[in-house]
Amino acid sequence: MIYGLALLAFSFLMGQWAGEILGSILGIDANVGGVGFAMIILLLCKEWLTKRNLLESEMNFGINFWGKLYIPVVIAMAASLNVKSALSSGILAILAGVIPVILAFFAFKLLIENFKPRTDAGTI
């Protein structure tokens, strides 16, 4: 189990590092895609281990446990957002926060309809 957790920690740290490096190359003080890089590193490690039959179920458990903890973490995150000030800082913040989201739903719909011919195999 600890091997899985360690693999996850390794991917996480490497990904965050890559994100920080990309951020400083671009000259911005932010982590660019750290989580994305970490996910891709973890996936590559998983493929590599599966091919060599080294991926034990115990290892999977060490990683899946954290994956399942994701929703509780999101609930805790929602509880620690500054909801009150967001809602009370005036109508401009609320409109500028909500209206673009509605527009983006339309943009999203247009986008996936245009990409459909190439993505028909996209089932889980």
Partner: protein
């Protein structure tokens, strides 16, 4: 009683596990008993979390929601960026590298579409509210992208602290709006497969909002939405204070 408070004070994170567990239990029960499973328990729990965040702000006037209550500071730690990012990465185990690779182009297209839609809409709304200078317009437009892009842009351009605060508030409202609206609209906009989730993450951008919204819609889609959303804030921080600002400056000067 004093002993109990001492234990709680020293084990804030453990108390947070208990608290979130209880909240989930109640939400699951509500989902079954009242909504007949039409609204998933996780969605109700996330909404409940937002409610607690509001309550916390009401009681303490702080800026970390429920986590500002001394007894519940562990909630802030559990919901902080370290646990959030670590658990998102762990969800990648359930994703397919093949699908992510195949969806690279739509991911990129969605990132650009998303940044443009949010920035332009944000700027236009700020304009109708009377802002006319390029710096303020750009900062609020950046805030409409995410609550990190807003202050990063504002800081780079030297916007007033009032405008920066407004841009953060805008970004937080966006996160909440995406969280709440995703499960409601998911079916209608065709958000039911990994490719769509990658595009969705790129269009909406807010990592917290996208992943929370997808968690409430279908947890299998979370890693796909997260993998593209994680690039959004970086792209916004890159484009808003540079290219977008220059364009705005040209437009407002004329």
């Amino acid at each position: 009683m004093q002993e109990l408070f001492k234990v709680i004070d020293q084990n804030g994170l453990i108390l947070a596990f208990l608290l979130i567990g209880l909240l989930y239990f109640v939400s699951d029960w509500l989902s079954r008993a009242i909504f007949k499973r039409r609204i998933p328990g996780s969605a109700i729990a996330i909404f409940g979390g937002l409610g607690l965040g509001y309550l916390g702000g009401l009681i303490t006037n702080g800026n970390k929601g429920f986590a500002d209550l001394e007894l519940f500071k562990g909630v802030g730690f559990l919901g902080g960026s370290m646990f959030r990012d670590f658990t998102i990465v762990a969800t990648a185990m359930g994703a397919s590298f093949f699908l992510i690779k195949k969806s690279g182009w739509i991911g990129l297209a969605s990132l650009i579409t998303g940044t443009l839609v949010f920035f332009i809409a944000g700027v236009l709304i700020a304009w109708t509210f009377g802002y006319r200078d390029a710096v303020s317009l750009c900062t609020i437009g950046a805030g409409a992208c995410t609550y990190i892009v807003g202050p990063v842009t504002g800081g780079a351009l030297g916007a007033s602290s009032e405008v920066i605060a407004l841009s953060i508030a805008t970004g937080v409202v966006k996160t909440i709006a995406v969280t709440v609206l995703t499960p409601i609209f998911a079916k209608r906009i065709g958000l039911d497969n990994p490719t769509a989730a990658i595009a969705y993450g790129g269009v909406m951008g807010t990592s917290s909002g996208v992943t929370a919204g997808l968690a409430a819609t279908d947890p299998k889609l979370v890693p796909y939405g997260a993998v593209s959303a994680t690039f959004y804030t970086g792209l916004g921080c890159l484009l808003c204070p540079s290219l977008f600002y220059l364009i705005l400056e040209l437009l407002t000067a004329s």
